[in-house]
Subunit: 318 residues, 2 copies
């Protein structure tokens, strides 16, 4: 995959002999953003290396954390003097490896901070530190990437990433899990007449419900999202992401989007900007997730800022 | 889908009461490009309405041609004085409806031309008029879109579209067909231990072969593509597209890309530019297609030109 990726996209390169994809044009003197985690979620994470987004991605094996040594290589490569912010989802393997890499890079003289993304509200707990990182991670990359591109200092980019994470909520639903290459059966089983609510990326969810019309599913997801702890967290204006998990046709994601906007506007919520597509998949998992980012003036400007990467581009003032 | 699409992307609008998606910013005095066909292939066709690409798309029901009356509405909307070029795949329903719309719009005073895309080499015939239009259509939209954006006259844009079509060859392979919404079984059946070569978008292919390593499949597709009639058509330099049919993970498409480039370069062919992703799907069909566009200086410049749409963006000089 990495070999094919760098033979397709000219603005990235692979750090020789590594699992690191690097922006070809690193902005000198700006904070470097390094994300990483298991593969099998494409276009996440490698598809978001580029201007206004990530500086480097460390790609693990399918659904497995990359080793700490590879993360250190990425830190070395993107630190042009302003320090490095690490962005990962809340998974044990990633937390261990990236913390280890952070300590090691600090010992070598780099300034490094870490933000763990915890947007999955299916866990239903007020303690967001126990939540997984899901498709809402995109909002954290986008906000932190725009902040870093603006020349903000490391502490400031870290503050923005933390704020974006606290303002993001995601919940998914699936009708079929994916199958890891080399194995011959799906990751878990969902009966044909049921769907599973609260799924992760390749992981089982909270509970099963019978198949029902998509509008009813979207309404249930939104109800979970807006009522999740801590209460009152989203505010009156949001950005939305309807994310395909891999095998759900885009035509269906836009049907989800129609109802999502209808539901939110019916609640008096302003939908400032929307994203629809396969952003953070789990191989050929069938289903989708909805992520909401509560906006204030600062986050709105960061989400609206231009960006350009292999799988996400947004022109200036679009 | 159309309602959700226009609530997501600000640069497009829906022609009121119609099945027409229109670029918000129509370049006055330039040739208007109108594409159309059945839905269920997203991001094609609506995802390619935008600067340097299509001016309007007429979206039919799933896998069904839009009615001629809707095509006439699109022609009316995009004709800003320089005439309109219609671009469709070679399917009986589309050919009938778009030809009918062309006659009707001409009678109303519009200058309209039609280019039918026929890139599917699985038909194995030297008469390219009998071939289907597949994912290689993207190259025709891109070349004609760049030509129209440059201010070329209708005859010239038509010539470019025809040249791009004659220089494009596509062939697909699938392990599972999609299922049309509202029906309860797949469009056709492929045994678990076999794959089907030469498939269309939701349509069966030429023949079945046993499952084999992806490198062997890519090599077989390339052999078909380069040896297809008329012989010698591709030349020494190409653009490539690895297109996912819907349910094939992007990680696998980049594995295909790696082998594709390796194979072509091994033959001494220059790979000038590559595209990888879900460009032209068939609901949740599992599989991929490979399209090659033979390049000369003119087509190279048109493919390299900037473009910006909901699902394809290419900055200037990237």
């Amino acid at each position: 995959m990495l070999a094919g990726f760098v033979r397709t996209h000219r603005h990235v390169r692979r750090l020789e002999g590594s699992r690191v994809i690097l922006a070809g044009d690193l902005a000198r003197g700006k904070v470097g953003l390094v994300a990483g985690g298991g593969s099998g979620h494409e276009p996440a994470l490698i598809g978001y290396v580029g201007a206004g987004l990530l500086g480097a991605v460390v790609a693990g094996e399918v659904f497995a954390s990359p080793p700490a040594g590879e993360v250190v290589k990425a830190i070395d490569a993107v630190d042009t003097g302003a320090g490095v912010l690490l962005l990962i989802g809340n998974y044990a393997g990633d937390v261990i490896n990236f913390e280890m890499a952070m300590e090691s890079a600090r010992a070598a003289g780099h300034r490094v901070e870490l933000q763990v993304v915890t947007d999955d509200v299916a866990a239903g707990t007020a303690d967001i530190r126990s939540r997984r990182g899901l498709a809402g991670s995109f909002f954290v990359w986008k906000a932190a990437g725009a902040s870093a591109a603006s020349g903000a200092a490391l502490d400031e980019v870290r503050r923005v990433a933390q704020k974006a994470n606290e303002s993001t909520r995601t919940m998914g639903v699936a009708s079929h899990p994916g199958t890891v290459p080399g194995t011959d059966r799906p990751l878990f089983a969902i009966p044909d007449d049921q769907i599973e609510i609260g799924v992760g990326h390749g992981e089982p969810g909270l509970r099963r419900i019978s198949v029902r019309p998509v509008d009813a599913i979207v309404d249930e997801l939104v109800e979970h999202l807006v009522s999740a702890e801590p209460s009152g967290g989203l505010g009156s204006e949001v950005a939305t992401l309807v994310n395909g998990l891999g095998a759900t046709p885009l035509i269906e994601l836009y049907v989800v989007q129609r109802r999502l906007v209808e539901n939110l506007e019916g609640r008096g919520t302003i939908v400032h900007r929307s994203f629809v597509g396969n952003y953070y998949t789990a191989l050929e998992m069938a289903g989708f997730s909805v992520a909401l980012l509560g906006l204030d003036g600062e986050l709105r400007a960061l989400i609206d800022a231009p960006a350009s990467s292999a799988h996400f581009s947004q022109p200036a003032s679009s």
